[in-house]
């Protein structure tokens, strides 16, 4: 039986258990009733019901497209200053009107619901693309439950007989506060959120890796850092707690590990590096390119950061892949001002494309 995970409280419900409301013409207008009480499409009082469903647990309205398309929850985590909010904000823009939009012909992205649209406008679009300033830090889950960002992506896929069909997929992004992943206690509070996610994107901040920071020259403004290896260890531990099956069984949840702020690291990659080549994900997810980048980043982490990092990841996750990206294309000139030549991301979309390919939403090419 079809189930739906509420994007607000992360509880899983059977479709028939979702709540509906009596319509305007019903004497019991606004009264909740389970969807299974529908009789020939009418409420228990025989009138036309309202179309939207609501979560039986938290009461939040669930958009029809989310319910019917089976929303894919994607969790974005990373230490403070790793650029999670910036990545989310620029990613939406890239899918809407950037390079990705150009490479994936016929692909559209629409934010779902007024709450998502307003939130995106206020928290991402205005700071990044109008005011040219960094986004504000995300509130901690200790104080505020992570607010989902719902958007619908539609891809054109060729049909069997030459015709094209539109395939929608609803994706839910959760942006977490960096401070939450810095401590095991607070990461525990995100367990429901992480558990319900069908994919996790972990952003690694190279500026919080010893040696790397000295290599590229940090601003010196920040004095406390989160050990990136600890973040992945905690993540693995938290997810393993809820995992079914024997102890030590690898987690099957796909994990995309993205090395951010690549614009600062490019000199550390050789000219033959795939990270210094144009992306080959054009219309499809190029597994060969993805694998090339994976090995490149893995080797870089082994040499520049910590050989134990990959082994730790491998000890928890069965499916994972490394990526390298730059959300802004250039470092901000100050804590309140982005680079004046604008936002020019690089390989920002790779983790998302990988997850979409894993979900079967976009086609893949090459490799194994």
């Amino acid at each position: 039986m079809a189930t739906t995970t509420c994007p607000y409280c992360w509880t899983v419900h059977r479709r028939a258990d979702l709540m509906m409301r009596c319509g305007e013409r019903c004497d019991h207008r606004g009264e909740l009733f389970p969807e299974r009480s529908l009789k020939e499409g009418r409420c228990p009082h025989g009138k036309q019901p309202q179309l939207r469903r609501a979560c039986p647990n938290c009461g939040n309205e669930l958009l029809r497209e989310y319910v019917e398309c089976g929303g894919r929850n994607i969790a974005v985590i990373g230490s403070s200053d790793s650029g999670k909010s910036t990545w989310v904000g620029v990613l939406v823009r890239e899918f809407q009107r950037g390079q990705v939009h150009e490479r994936f012909d016929g692909m559209t992205l629409n934010l779902l619901g007024e709450r998502s649209r307003e939130r995106y406008k206020k928290d991402f679009e205005i700071p990044l693309f109008e005011d040219s300033r960094p986004v504000l830090p995300t509130a901690s889950a200790v104080r505020t439950t992570p607010e989902p960002l719902l958007f619908s992506m539609r891809f054109t896929r060729p049909g069997r007989f030459g015709s094209n069909r539109i395939e929608p997929v609803v994706t839910v992004f959760y942006d977490t506060a960096g401070e939450d992943v810095a401590r095991a206690a607070t990461l525990d509070q995100l367990i429901d959120y992480l558990e319900s996610a069908e994919g996790i994107i972990l952003l690694l901040d190279p500026m919080q890796m010893r040696g790397v920071r000295q290599l590229v020259g940090g601003s010196g403004a920040k004095t406390k850092f989160t050990e990136q290896l600890d973040v992945v260890t905690r993540l693995g531990e938290v997810l393993s707690e809820r995992a079914k099956g024997r102890v030590g069984k690898l987690l099957k949840k796909p994990l995309a590990i993205a090395l951010t702020k690549l614009d600062l690291l490019l000199p550390t990659f050789g000219p033959e590096s795939p990270l210094r080549q144009p992306s080959r994900h054009i219309g499809v997810y190029d597994q060969s390119d993805g694998r090339d980048v994976h090995e490149e980043v893995r080797a870089w982490l082994d040499e520049r950061y910590d050989p134990a990092f990959d082994r730790t990841v491998r000890s928890f996750f069965e499916v994972y892949q490394y990526f390298g990206l730059s959300a802004l294309g250039a470092p901000p000139v100050s804590g309140t001002q982005l680079s004046p030549d604008g936002v020019h991301p690089y390989r920002l979309e790779d983790p998302m494309l990988w997850l979409l390919s894993r979900f079967g939403v976009i086609r893949t090419r090459g490799g194994r």
Binding site: P271, R291, A299, G342
Partner: protein
């Protein structure tokens, strides 16, 4: 217990007399019956009642019949009060209260003094209308800490002549008193006239204000010594100082007297300061018992005003003049006689030695106020200066003269020209007539003034004639002539104009125009005012000199260029040979003046001048644009004098500011360009050229691509280029109906590498591995190295183990190799170029892992 006794004197003074005068006896029955107020013994009271009652018919007191009748009438009631303890107590309380009030009143009146003079006590009793008796007042004084006490006799205190002025002079000399001055500078009260004369001689050499003041003090002291009054003056000073402390209470007076103890002894006054203090206290103003008679005030007034004859008259008018005052009158008469004799002597001197006479009169005036003496001083006029001269200097007349022979008094001079006062009073022997009339003969008179009293005659200068220059001279150089104008001074009838020594024809009274001039040449002109002198001859001033040149024609700027840099306008041009270039700003569509030479005011009429923001060199300008909008027109105008040459206009657009922060990122065989857009710009042109910089946005040898800002911001600008060195340039583009215009081209360079692709494959199972490298464009392949590493990919040509070293050669290259079995699986392979110009890229990255 004491026995009651009758006291006739007390009964007469304290009872009968007051009752006779109207005092009601019931107010104090204890007093009437000669009882102490605290009496309690009945026998004593009974005896007193009986004893007093028996006196009412005593013939001794028949003179107080009315009083005795009054006492007898109240005797019965008095008996009741005095014999009843309660009533007696109540009566006593009332009397005690009055007594306490009297005591307090007297305590205040004493104000710390040891007592009240007898006369004051008597006056107090008298004014009480019988309420008080002398006995009661004395008792109250004792309770108040005082007694009935008469002050010591002090010498008569007469204010010395000119005492107030003397105190002022002493204050100017920083001395508190005459005593202090004499004790410090001279010999105290024993100072002699010889000592004073010696001191005056010392001061004579100085003209300082202090020396003058001290000389005046010494003169006063001399007078007092001559009159034998120096000690009297010093005594007066002591008493005067003590009197000044009276207002602050007796204690201050007593303290002052104690401080002046030494002076008192030296001045022959009572040595006990308390006696002196009490005497001064009792003689204080307003103390009715010790007030000086009115004629003494009149005398003092006359003396202070030096009216000695009036002072003698006041004393003469007093009958029974005390001896002390009689002596004073005699002294005054003697002094007057001596002064009158001196007046006669001075009068005689007037005909022979005026200065000596004046000096004598002035000495007399210091002691005696007499109209005859004042008239005599005025009669003695000072001598005029022996000679005087005038000379013309810088449009003024300077008058100088020899000093007068007069020496007594304040000698000054007055200079007049006819009825005009040139200088009212001056102490020096020179004056300046700043605005003398021109062209007329002038004579100046110099009078000597003695204390403002002019000499009978004046010294006169010879005639001087003032020939003033023209005023407000202005020369103006026009394109074809030089003109001048001025105003004539008073008295002038015309002017002459000469250029380089030769007269300029056609000059008017106040103007001239010289057309015999050439542009660019500077000429010197001399303008002299002309006067008609009294003898009919013409006179000329020395003349004013001025230079001018004919207006030069300015040269227009034709190579003006400008651009916006970081929001600032930057312009440059070749500076013209002369004149100042001003840049005018016009909005697009404004009417511009035609390129021509025209009056500067007309050329500058419509444009907005561009003010330099930062200092630039010749032919350079950095400024902020003042015109709203993107496009402005700049017009260089060469201003030279009153002419301006309008140059070639130059249109500049703020959108044509150079792009900033041009950044180049190589991604394989493509280049990604980003930059910061100037405000308002929406389209940019990207040009690139191999091996050389593009000459401009339209360089025919360069490739280009126009990019919108939307595309740049959303998708970026990516350009595929083959290997080699390239120059990339970006400039803004503005498209209008006519043609494209471009902003300044910002350039950056970069090298692109060639790409060769390689694969790793196995010929057969368990057979050797084969590395195949193929250049993309068939070019020569570089030297290469094949690296292997267990677990992770080699990161570069020096990481991991080298499996093969491959020499450079033509493409393609095939190399067989084996992966050492000792390397832990999986083994990652990577081929690296050893030439920076070529990059090796794996075609199948998944093949690079050997499991």
């Amino acid at each position: 217990m004491s026995e009651w006794r009758f006291d006739d004197t007390v009964f007469r003074e304290d009872v009968l007399k007051p009752v006779q005068d109207g005092w009601p006896p019931k107010d104090d029955l204890f007093r009437v019956y000669l009882l102490p107020t605290d009496v309690a013994d009945e026998r004593t009271i009974t005896a007193a009642l009986a004893g007093i009652n028996s006196q009412f018919t005593n013939q001794r007191y028949r003179g107080f019949r009315r009083a005795c009748e009054s006492l007898r009438a109240q005797h019965q009631a008095a008996t009741v009060v005095l014999t009843d303890p309660a009533r007696r107590k109540s009566h006593r309380q009332r009397i005690d209260e009055l007594s306490a009030k009297l005591t307090e009143s007297l305590r205040q009146r004493l104000n710390g003094a040891p007592g009240l003079p007898s006369a004051e006590v008597a006056a107090l009793v008298k004014s009480s209308k019988g309420t008080l008796t002398r006995t009661a007042v004395r008792a109250a004084l004792v309770r108040a800490g005082g007694a009935e006490l008469d002050p010591a006799e002090l010498p008569a205190l007469v204010e010395p002549v000119q005492w107030i002025e003397t105190r002022g002079l002493l204050s100017q000399l920083q001395h508190d008193s005459l005593w202090s001055y004499l004790a410090t500078v001279l010999n105290g009260p024993s100072t002699t006239t010889t000592e004073i004369g010696r001191r005056r001689d010392e001061l004579r050499v100085s003209r300082a204000a202090e020396a003058v003041a001290e000389t005046a003090v010494l003169k006063r002291a001399q007078l007092w010594i001559d009159a034998g009054e120096l000690v009297a003056a010093l005594r007066y000073e002591v008493f005067d100082d003590l009197r000044a402390k009276v207002n602050f209470g007796y204690q201050d007076v007593a303290a002052g007297a104690k401080a002046a103890g030494g002076r008192l002894r030296q001045l022959g006054l009572p040595a006990d300061p308390a006696l002196v203090a009490y005497a001064v206290w009792c003689a204080r103003p307003g103390n009715g018992g010790n007030r000086a008679p009115g004629w003494q005030d009149d005398y003092q007034q006359s003396i202070s005003e030096l009216r000695l004859r009036a002072a003698v008259a006041v004393l003469d008018a007093q009958p029974n003049l005390p001896k002390e005052w009689a002596e004073r009158r005699d002294k005054l008469v003697k002094q007057l006689s001596a002064l009158d004799a001196e007046v006669v002597r001075c009068r005689a001197l007037e005909s022979t030695d005026v200065e000596a006479a004046v000096e004598g009169y002035r000495r007399i005036r210091e002691q005696l106020a007499d109209p005859d003496v004042i008239a005599a001083i005025e009669r003695c006029r000072p001598a005029e200066p022996r000679s005087a001269a005038g000379r013309v200097t810088d449009g003024q007349v300077v008058i100088s003269w020899s000093p007068s022979t007069s020496r007594v008094g304040r000698i000054e001079y007055r200079v007049t020209r006819g009825s005009t006062v040139v200088c009212a009073e001056t102490g020096v022997c020179e004056a300046v007539d700043a605005s003398p009339p021109g062209g007329t003969a002038l004579v100046y008179s110099v009078h000597t003034l003695r204390d403002g009293n002019p000499s009978a005659r004046a010294a006169r200068t010879a005639e001087v004639t003032m020939l003033a220059e023209v005023a407000g001279l202005e020369l103006h150089g026009g394109p074809a002539a030089i003109s001048g104008r001025w105003t004539l001074p008073d008295g002038a009838v015309g002017a002459t104009v000469s250029r380089d020594g030769k007269p300029v024809p056609g000059a008017g009274l106040t103007t001239f125009v010289d057309r015999q001039v050439r542009p660019g040449v500077t000429y010197q002109y001399l303008i002299r005012a002309r006067y008609r002198l009294s003898a009919g001859a013409a006179g000329y001033s020395d003349g004013l000199s001025a230079t001018s040149s004919c207006q030069e024609v300015p040269v227009a700027v034709t190579d003006f260029t400008a651009e916006f840099q970081e929001g600032e306008l930057v312009a440059s041009w070749k500076p013209p040979p002369s004149g100042e270039v001003q840049v005018l700003e016009f909005a697009a569509g404004d009417q511009l003046p035609a390129p021509d030479v025209m009056p500067a005011a007309r050329a500058m009429r419509n444009g907005r001048p561009v003010r330099p923001g930062t200092p630039g060199g010749p032919g350079q300008l950095r400024a902020r644009s003042v015109t709203a909008g993107n496009r402005v027109v700049l017009l260089p105008v060469t201003v030279l004098g009153e002419l301006a040459a309008v140059g070639t206009p130059y249109a500049v657009d703020v959108r044509h500011s150079p792009v900033r922060g041009l950044r180049l990122r190589r991604l394989g065989s493509t280049v990604e360009l980003t930059w910061e857009w100037p405000a308002g710009a929406t389209v940019a042109r990207v040009v690139w050229r191999s091996a050389a910089k593009p000459s401009g946005p339209t360089d025919p040898d360069a490739a280009f691509r126009d990019v919108t800002k939307v595309t740049h911001d959303s998708k970026g600008v990516t350009i595929p280029v083959p290997e080699g060195d390239y120059w990339f340039g970006v400039c803004t583009v503005i498209r209008d109906d006519k043609e494209d215009s471009f902003g300044p081209l910002v350039l950056t360079g970069g090298s692109m590498t060639a790409t060769a692709r390689y694969t790793v494959d196995r010929v057969r199972r368990r057979g050797p591995w084969v590395l195949t490298v193929e250049a993309e464009h068939g070019q020569e392949l570089p030297p290469m190295t094949l690296r292997a590493k267990a677990g992770v990919r080699p990161t570069g040509p020096h990481d991991g183990m080298e499996l093969e070293s491959i020499k450079a050669g033509p493409s393609p290259i095939r190399v067989e190799f084996r992966v050492p079995p000792e390397l832990r699986r999986p083994v990652h392979l990577k081929a690296c170029s050893l030439d920076d110009g070529v990059v090796l890229v794996a075609s199948r990255p998944d093949q690079l892992i050997v499991r």
